[in-house]
Amino acid sequence: MRKLKFKHVYIVLKKELKDIFRDKKTWIVTILLPALFIPIMMYIVIGGAESISEQKISETKIAIIDEGNNAKFINYLKSTGISIVTGLQNPKESLEKGDIRAIVVIPSDFDKNIEEGKNADLTIQVDMSNMKSSNAENMIRGLIKEYANNIVKERLIAKGIDPKILDPIEVKTENIASQSKMAGSFLAFIVPMLLTLWTATGGMGAAVDLAAGEKERGTLEPLLTTSASRLSIMAGKYLAVTTMALISAIASLLGLFASFSLNKDMASLNADFRLSTTAIVVMFVAAFFTASIFAALELALSAYAKSFKEGQTYISPLMFIAIIPAYLVMYKMPNEIPISYFAIPVFGTISIFKELLYGIINMTHIGIFVFSSIVYVAISIYIAALMFKQEWALFRV
């Protein structure tokens, strides 16, 4: 009765996977959703940011209303590469329609005033209700500022003063990170969290169905009277849940890599970013351990639950166990992660993912993580097995 028989484990596993995959919901929740989650998020975040900063200077259309003959300033504007639209009947209407982003109105004596060392003024007409138009305003202000700076410099030089006097402190920022390191840091920020989340949630549906659902359907009783021991049944179900969790995690990883190769801005990062084979293997092992721990705990809770609904209620809080550590580790740099984290469930997983994505392969950390994980996996499987033997849990009234 207590014996583990691999043949039975295999029969249960095979049946459960067949059963699970015949459910369309499974495909959506465990594969499609994790796979599409990152690409969609990236599309929204990057795509959104892009459509605003997309305003390359050459693509920003403006009109100029010259009230005099200010060829010098207009030539400067032309030299910046900004797209100047000419021959508009009604520039204001074009601005309202969004055909152009801004109108620069130059008073008749603009060039003259500057030449004479006087102050000059200028009007920029924009449509502030339009993001792109208000961005164009910033862009034009920048251009004018540059023009003004040059004028100041010229005037100072004319008076025999070194223009450097204007910038007593010069700040230079040098980015020493390579492209791949930057890509890594972005990945290291988001991937551990998502991976852990999907390994935790990927098996939930299956876990609820495979124990609590079995009770609700009334299939548990005949199942328990077959020759298969409870341990074998539990083991088969546990492997099925782990498989689903891993499939989710892998789907989310594939989604991530797909979005990297599809997005043109991301592709340049991707080209520089390479995970070593060792890192990939360790990542897979780490995902497997984490999926195992969650699968066993989810199954234990599900075995306790009386119904499908009760099972969901017990299991969903496990998600926070994944999210909170992920959040706590998310903002830490690899060198800030305390060594003890590698020995704590979930914290360890996220920390390992983070290091690997930064290209760090620290055998001590991996050792601590693997060893402690084996202990946790053993404990969680023990709990699940215990639950499957408890008649007060399986036959609750």
Partner: protein
């Protein structure tokens, strides 16, 4: 043959089954009659090795329930509840095959057996359809087939007709009689005397986990000098409630 010896089950503070003893011979149908909460399901669950008895045991085909639970499982088939559960996304055949395989049957052999039994029980038309798409009556037939696929010598039925329509009830009754003809030892629980009277060779009335009366239908009628066993049952159980 099943011999129940002093079987007792205590949940936290309830004695669900209290020192129950009875004997059922091969080819005999034993009716376990009792009201809600009398301890019928608990008794049958213990005999099917799902629950461990607090004390007492049973000898099933010369094997001890406590000492050899694994062997007992090969001897026992169960049909619990009127709406026996199936895996909706598996076909009827796959449902049955799953249990057959877990009973250590050879898959091909089990498959052949399913074909034979499906013909016998008039199920060929839907045996390869997903269980979720079957009618209640069809599902019940699948559950029945599943319960005998490993050819158990002892059949345990726990209120197998509850919630079924008249036609399905008759099919279940026919199936129980079929099991009797096959020489199986049958224990059948119900809270309806009329159902038990129709089917059973011997009746045991349990109340609050205790066996309060036992005998063949003829014995009971003679002992209490009445033809109305339904009334007798109410009387026996009612009496005990007042105590």
């Amino acid at each position: 043959m099943v011999e129940v010896i002093g079987l007792t089950k205590v949940f936290k503070n309830i004695k669900a089954v209290d020192n129950l003893s009875f004997k059922v011979e091969e080819g005999e149908i034993y009716g376990l009659l009792g009201e809600n909460g009398a301890g019928k399901t608990t008794t049958l669950r213990m005999l099917a090795t799902m629950l461990k008895p607090t004390s007492g045991t049973a000898i099933i085909n010369r094997k001890d329930l406590i000492k050899k639970p694994e062997e007992i499982r090969k001897e026992v088939g169960i049909l619990f509840g009127g709406e026996s559960g199936l895996y909706d996304r598996l076909t009827a055949r796959e449902n049955i095959l799953y249990f057959a395989e877990l009973h250590d049957m050879d898959k091909e052999e089990a498959d052949k057996k399913i074909d034979i039994l499906a013909r016998k029980f008039d199920m060929t038309e839907f045996i390869d359809r997903p269980a979720g798409k079957l009618s209640k009556g069809m599902k019940q037939k699948v559950a029945i087939l599943r319960s005998i696929i490993h050819d158990p010598k002892v059949m345990l039925f726990d209120e197998p007709t509850s919630g079924l329509d008249v036609g399905s009830v008759r099919e279940v009754h026919d199936f129980i009689r079929f099991c009797k003809e096959e020489g199986k030892t049958i224990i059948f629980s119900s809270h309806s005397m009329s159902e038990v009277e129709k089917l059973c060779d011997k009746i045991g009335i349990i109340h609050k986990g205790k066996l309060i009366e036992e005998g063949t239908i003829k014995d009971l009628k003679e002992k209490y000098k009445t033809d109305n066993l339904e009334e007798l049952f109410m009387e026996l159980v009612g009496e005990k409630i007042e105590v």
